[in-house]
């Protein structure tokens, strides 16, 4: 029990990421409202972003900008260990754009569905599809 707690405290960001994926999946599976499902989908995507941001971070290290680098004419060794890894963060800029675009397309389709059936509740839509 104690080790589990210690594990949780030390790596809480990873536990949060797993929790968020589960919450998002639950919303997509269990909720009957299309907008709630879309929000669940977005939570899953955000959870993956949290995971990536976590793997780049290091405790007690600084942002990867070399201070006064432009003043220094000579080459001096840069210790990569002293800086957090910028690559996963940069990757996630792209992933954020992707998730915004997905959200946009999904909401646009939800509007189309709403105009067509007059509701966003899946059960009611299913009834109207049957009536047609």
């Amino acid at each position: 029990m104690e080790s589990l707690l210690a594990n949780f405290v030390a790596k809480y960001n990873y536990w949060v990421y797993i929790g968020l994926v589960m919450i998002g999946m639950y919303a997509m599976i269990a909720k009957r409202n299309l907008v709630k499902k879309i929000i669940g989908m977005n939570i899953v995507q955000t959870a993956v972003i949290l995971f990536y941001v976590s793997i780049g971070a290091k405790k007690g290290k600084t942002i990867p900008i070399i201070a006064h680098g432009h003043e220094d004419t000579g080459h001096h060794a840069v210790q990569a260990l002293d800086y957090i890894s910028p690559l996963p963060h940069v990757l996630m800029l792209t992933a954020i754009v992707v998730s915004v675009a997905t959200l946009g397309v999904a909401l646009a389709l939800a509007i189309k569905v709403y105009r067509q059936y007059g509701t966003l509740e899946e059960d009611e839509i299913a009834m109207r599809v049957k009536d047609q």
Binding site: K37, M41, V48, T102, A106, V113, Q116, Y117, Q132
Partner: protein
Amino acid sequence: MSAHFPGLVVIIPLVAAFLILIGAQLDKRLAFPLTALALLGSLLTAVGLLVKVLQVGVVEYHLAGWAPPVGIAYRVDHLNALVLLAVATVAFLNLLGTRELVDDLFGDRLGFFYTLYILLIAGLQGILVTGDAFNLYVLLEIAALTGYALVGMGPGRAPLSSLNYIFIGTVGASFYLLGVGYLYLVTGTLNMADLAVRLPTLYSSKVVVSAFVICLVGLCIKMGFFPLHAWLPNAYSHAPDPVSSLVAPLVTKVMIYVMVRVMLYVFTPAFAFDVMTVSEPMVWLAIIAIVTGSFMALSTRRLKRMLTYIVVAEVGYMVGGFWLGNRLGISGAILHIVNDAVMTFCVFLAAAAIIYKVGSDAIDDMQGLFKKMPVTMAVFVVAGLSIIGVPPTCGFFSKWYLISGAIAAGQYGFMAALILSSLINVVLFFRIFEIAYFEPFDAHHGHHPAGHGPITSEVQEAPFEMVATLVVTAVLLIALGIYAGDIVSLIIDHAIPVGIA
């Protein structure tokens, strides 16, 4: 110039997408010629790439001159050069064939339609050429997002089906991204070739095992592999006809290519087939996919829906063939990616032509079609025979490799599933041929939708470019069959790592 071919495959359609959007604002008639020009360009580039790969072997391209593993590399070998050519060909033929249909359906928003069309192709071709695992995710989302939008443009239930497609597709892509993240966590690289070098020392790592499983599940969702196929039949059968004939042949095939690429060239065969013990369950799932897909196809009386279930079964062919893990099976799977892209395209385009003329996709409304649309139906027969697997059409040869592979691997269940599915396909297609061969009864004239008129025995073919495209595709089906041996010995043999017996 030819040094830039791998880059151009993506850049031509990407730049063209902007030009089409701007051009269509000036004059919407510009949209089609611009798209055709760009797709012809990318088709010629794909031909050039295949020729180059055959001459010199693997072609590497460093975007902006940054050398891998730091920079993003595009890497074209025998495997993706072949699939790339198939994708570019189908995309170009579909564009030509469905011009009048698109004018009819989307006359007021041609610019948007063709922009999405070409962005989808840019995404798919990018997936094929890229050698970077994260870049692949981005291009996968480009292809997926444009696919959702295109499917959602359809009438009736299409927006709802597209929304469900988004939910499932996004989970699939997120899983792939997570898997790549796990790999990055333990290796610190995203370049596929570099990953393949660094992974063997980490095969016992739990992170790598999780990455493998998560990636595989994500890709199975994206390709519509049983039991994760629920989105596929609705999305593809409710999509507008010119879109169905584009996404149904291409998207699932490209996702299967991604699986082959990731398993053979990132995780390496030693890990995928020997360390991880998923081959056997994957083949069994493929068997279930083939059998259920075939029976679901049998249970529907709608042409397009029947074809989408055939797609579900065909995905089972390829995934099962790949996981047999021997040279014959993998050759069959790769050959079937190409053949199935052309076959599926051919049947969906023929279905589009039939629906365009008959005004309904119910199989019972197809009476007398052999008289009414002789050329379309002749092509449909060739495509049907190819899906059944009758020589000399190409479907026979890939099925032959798959069955030989199944026997070599001792997977008699998979062999039986292939044969059963062929027999069901015989029933499926000959049922249609029979209905279409006989004249309609007088009593049936009444229930054809107004505006299309009752079926008469006069020849009433689909638009010329559609019929011409269908004929070209049918010739292609037979040519692919005749040259199947050469394709395997010249291209596919080099696409499979040497270690696989």
